[in-house]
Amino acid sequence: MEEKKSGSLSSEKREDLWAILLALAVLIFSIMAPDVVHDIFKKYLFIV
């Protein structure tokens, strides 16, 4: 367990904020280029 220092984030809060940022990044990329995002994760990452 990570102790929370004053002014810094606990490890759990940091994980949560990173999760939101990652999901936001996926949303932004999906708005900009939905077909590219879809094809990367549904086609190109499968090599067999």
Partner: protein, 422 residues
């Protein structure tokens, strides 16, 4: 600036090797899953194509309903496409794929978990990978947020409301029972408190959240976490098969798992293993139940009558602020966007739209998280569970599982089914 600095762990470099290992493991397993799924679909198509063709011919000769013919032709086209993917012919069989994928339910979740446990406990994992493996588990969280595109607010009110009442009843009931029996049997307040909170809600997170409040010692934390992980791991592998054997419907399984499996990652793994509908229900009920973590901390404070612990840990607002799982706000933000039916965002099944693209991503986050879970399950750590508190905790968790099954059977599927607005 200090906020941005605190977003990055000072020793972030130590996480890289483990994260890369999880990424490689997830990549290999997802490709095996894809291969099995492709050949299983082709195997099913090989059997069904002649039957559908005959049905279409019969309907056409009897001048059947055009709608029914069109629907069968659509199905036929899908099966032909599945067969074409493996360059197969009608009559050709891939029974091995159907056996592994359908009969044994050998999907990516099972492969990552079982494979991870085998790797960890046989060939072992060098220490350099361990911090990164630990940090891979929370990567399930962005996956959960993205799954928000599958829900609308009516689902949240219907399924989330039912689930919240159900889980609140079981959470506080289990926590109270465990804490009461532990106190009666002379188990220390530290161990009884974290075991009660842990078996009541969200396992490890609740133990970590309540430990400073009841002043649990590190060894007591190891006992409680060991018990929760051991029970959760057992349930993760037993419940999907038990559910199939008892003919539990997918939404009912999702709710049952959300009551019985304490750890978020293990819950999502079991529900995803059981099927998409089970996962949708489980994710929504989990979103409702993890919001109860701050309240279980306050409940523990109340139960043990703790007055002299430091104010930061016990103040109502501080407890809610510190223990509230912030990421769940991202999930609800996406549910809100999906509920507004904004045409520019589309939906998870509307090809070419942003939400359709996002829907392709979440399984990869889950795969990374499940790789982290599998590779971090150490049998040696589980041996740390034991003693009277283990018996009480496991007994209460088993009782919760059985009573939870009865409850979801009484409630039925309809109230627990996620519609996604359809």
């Amino acid at each position: 600036m200090s906020f941005f600095n605190s977003m990055i762990a000072p020793d972030w470099k130590k996480f890289i090797p483990g994260l890369l290992l999880c990424a490689v493991f997830a990549f290999v397993v997802m490709n095996i899953h894809h291969l099995l799924a492709t050949y299983h679909k082709a195997d099913a198509a090989s059997i069904k194509i002649p039957k559908i063709e005959k049905k279409i011919a019969d309907l056409k000769s009897a001048r059947g309903a055009p709608g029914e013919i069109a629907s069968l032709e659509h199905q036929l086209h899908k099966y032909q496409k599945a067969l074409k993917k493996v360059n197969g012919k009608v009559g050709q069989r891939w029974k091995w794929a159907t056996f592994l994928y359908e009969t044994c339910q050998f999907k990516y979740v099972a492969m990552l978990l079982i494979g991870g446990i085998i790797i960890r406990n046989t060939i072992g994992i060098p220490k350099v990978f361990l911090p990164g493996i630990g940090i891979a588990r929370p990567l399930i969280k962005p996956g959960i947020i993205i799954l928000g595109v599958h829900y609308v607010w009516s689902d949240v009110v219907k399924v989330g409301g039912t689930g919240l009442i159900l889980t609140a009843f079981f959470i506080f009931g289990t926590a109270l029972t465990v804490m009461y029996i532990c106190r009666k049997k002379g188990v220390s307040d530290g161990l009884g408190g974290i075991m009660g909170a842990g078996t009541g809600v969200c396992g490890v997170s609740a133990i970590i959240a309540t430990a400073p409040v009841v002043r649990a010692r590190p060894l007591e934390m190891a006992y409680a976490i060991g018990t929760i992980l051991l029970f959760g791991t057992l349930m993760l592998f037993v419940m999907p098969y038990l559910g199939q054997w008892l003919h539990v419907s997918q939404p009912q399984f999702g709710a049952w798992a959300a009551i019985a499996i304490l750890n978020t990652a293990q819950l999502i793994a079991a529900a995803e293993w059981y099927g998409d509908e089970a996962r949708n229900t489980a994710v929504l009920i989990n979103a409702a139940r993890i919001m109860l973590i701050p309240f279980i901390v306050m409940y523990t404070v109340w139960f043990y009558g703790l007055k002299d612990v430091n104010k930061e840990s016990t103040g109502v607002w501080n407890t809610i602020k510190n223990k509230f799982p912030v990421f769940i706000l991202g999930f609800f933000a996406l549910v809100l966007l999906n509920s507004l039916h904004i045409s520019a965002l589309g939906g998870p099944k509307a090809a070419g739209t942003p939400f359709w693209a996002m829907n392709a991503v979440y399984k990869w986050f889950f795969a990374l998280g499940f790789a982290g879970i599998g590779l971090s399950i150490s049998i040696d750590d589980m041996k740390k569970s034991g003693g009277l508190a283990f018996l009480i905790g496991s007994g209460a968790a088993t009782a919760k599982m059985i009573l939870g099954l009865i409850a979801v059977m009484i409630i039925g599927s309809e109230l627990l089914k996620v519609t996604g607005g359809h």
